[in-house]
């Protein structure tokens, strides 16, 4: 350490860390694609008190929010192979359950996790769009689906967008926990590179920078999108 930073290693490893970005993004995008619609539907069930789903959503949210992601990862990572194994032996599939790419476990955990968070985000956003607008849409002859697509969802999205941005950024950061699944994402790649010459400080700086750049970029994109959506609120704001 006394010789100061190894700049060559710093720069090389930056690109190693950067090569983990696609995996982090893949997990983020898959989780959002599952969680956005599912979270919205479950949020609706909590508002409309559609009984069975509503209970389920309530319990689900409290489970996911009440436990650390890393624990959820360990549970999924250790229990799903067992479950799969019993299914595979029962039906004689040709498959080695321990060869499953760990990214699937990441997809599962982060989708579940993000869904729970988005249920709450959408629930509070839906509450800000008055039920009266839905009724007005019905009374001029729109079907429920049309009313949601054209009136309710666009407004809900605008309200929820800042929170969805926060959720997305948190999700990107949380994908660093993928190292617990031996996933070749940003953190793991840089750490492995550092193992050779004990350049941990450089590696951590690189990891830090990559997440910072990635998250800033995502926030910037959200801001742009928000500006486009929000034109009708200009006067209120």
């Amino acid at each position: 350490m006394s010789e100061g930073l190894d700049y060559k290693f710093l720069i090389d490893t930056f690109f190693v860390a950067l090569s983990g970005v696609p995996i982090a993004l893949a997990i983020t995008i898959v989780a959002l694609m599952v969680a956005l619609p599912l979270g919205f539907i479950l949020a609706l069930s909590r508002i409309n008190r559609f009984l069975v789903l509503h209970r389920f959503a309530q319990i689900y949210v409290s489970f996911v929010r009440g436990t650390p992601i890393i624990v959820q990862i360990f549970i999924v990572y250790s229990s799903i192979p067992l479950l799969l194994d019993s299914i595979v032996t029962k039906y004689n599939f040709e498959m080695n359950v321990y060869d499953v790419n760990p990214i699937w476990y990441a997809f599962i955990v982060f989708s579940f996790n993000t869904t729970a968070i988005l249920i709450e985000v959408f629930r509070s956003a839906l509450n800000t769009v008055s039920k009266g607008q839905l009724e007005a849409a019905q009374s001029v002859g729109l079907t429920n689906v049309q009313a949601f697509r054209r009136i309710i969802i666009p407004q809900t999205l605008v309200v929820a967008l800042p929170n969805i941005c926060t959720v997305t950024v948190n999700l990107i950061k949380a994908t660093s926990l993928g190292y617990a699944l031996s996933l070749q994402e940003i953190t793991l790649r840089a750490k492995v590179a550092a193992n050779v010459g004990y350049n941990y400080v450089e590696a951590y700086i690189d990891i830090f920078l990559v997440y910072l750049i990635l998250c800033s970029l995502v926030e910037y994109i959200f801001k742009l999108y928000e500006k486009r959506l929000i034109k009708y609120k200009a006067v209120n704001a």
Partner: protein, 251 residues
């Protein structure tokens, strides 16, 4: 043209509508009066299926529709023939005034956009908002918002427009502009069922007044019958409470 028979509706234990019958002919302007909580809003909502009645029949141009068991198609057909003006306007906040008015035409009725815009502009002109086609609801005063609400109802050319206290959320100085618009469309022969506390509107514009209390129709008749010769004690008491000191009935 529209006949409502024996509407009943309960919320939980409390019976809000206890069998209401109303008959409306084409071109009628019928005003419903009654103390707050008497079920006026619930009645209008049941007619437009925003609330499902426990019992009751709507006869629309001779076609019976059971308010309790109506199919989706029947509900849709009633909504095509009726329009609703809400106490809180309920404009679509993400749409401009013109889009608010044309939404039902373009999406609900699959009308081509140019044709819908044409009709929408005409309707907005009619309510005095020719300058505000592209304004969002957040840029409009309460009175202007309610006039958009009325244009949105008028534009679909319904057989009847249901008004639920259209002026009671407004600042007093904005009530007049909305009532003027309502008078104008009444003059054009629009059939209207209006819940209001504006006695001057009932007196000047209505051709029939219905007094409701505790979920039943207590008395109905011409404005003169109700305001000058109310038969029922409850009607007299209510009118005494709500009519201004200087309210006089001219024929």
């Amino acid at each position: 043209m529209l006949e409502i028979k024996n509407i009943q509706k309960s919320f939980g234990e409390s019976k809000i509508l206890k069998g209401v019958d109303i008959k409306i002919d084409k071109g009628d302007v019928v005003v419903i009066l009654g103390p707050s909580g008497s079920g006026k809003t619930t009645l209008l909502r049941c007619i437009n299926f925003l609330e499902k009645a426990d019992e009751g029949l709507a006869v629309f141009d001779g076609i019976d529709i059971n308010l309790k068991t109506a199919s989706k198609r029947q509900i849709h057909s009633i909504r095509q023939k009726t329009a609703f003006v809400f106490q809180n306007y309920n404009l679509f906040n993400n749409k401009t005034a013109l889009e608010n008015v044309t939404e039902g035409l373009i999406v609900g009725r699959k009308m081509p956009k140019e044709e819908a815009n044409e009709l929408g502009k005409k309707a907005l002109n009619k309510v005095g908002l020719s300058e505000k086609y592209n304004a969002y609801p957040s840029e409009l005063s309460g009175g202007q918002q309610q006039r958009v609400g009325i244009a949105r109802a008028v534009v679909i050319d319904p057989d009847i427009i249901l008004f639920d206290e259209p002026t009671s959320a407004l600042d007093p100085e904005l009530v007049g502009e909305v009532l003027t618009v309502m008078k104008n469309i009444a003059k054009e022969g629009t059939t209207m069922l209006v819940v209001t506390h504006e006695m001057s509107f009932a007196k000047d514009v209505a051709n029939r007044v219905i007094f409701m209390d505790e979920g039943i129709v207590i008395e109905e008749g011409s404005p003169k019958d109700i305001f000058v010769h109310p038969k029922e004690e409850r009607t007299r008491k209510f009118l005494k409470r709500v009519l201004p000191e200087d309210f006089t009935y001219y024929i």
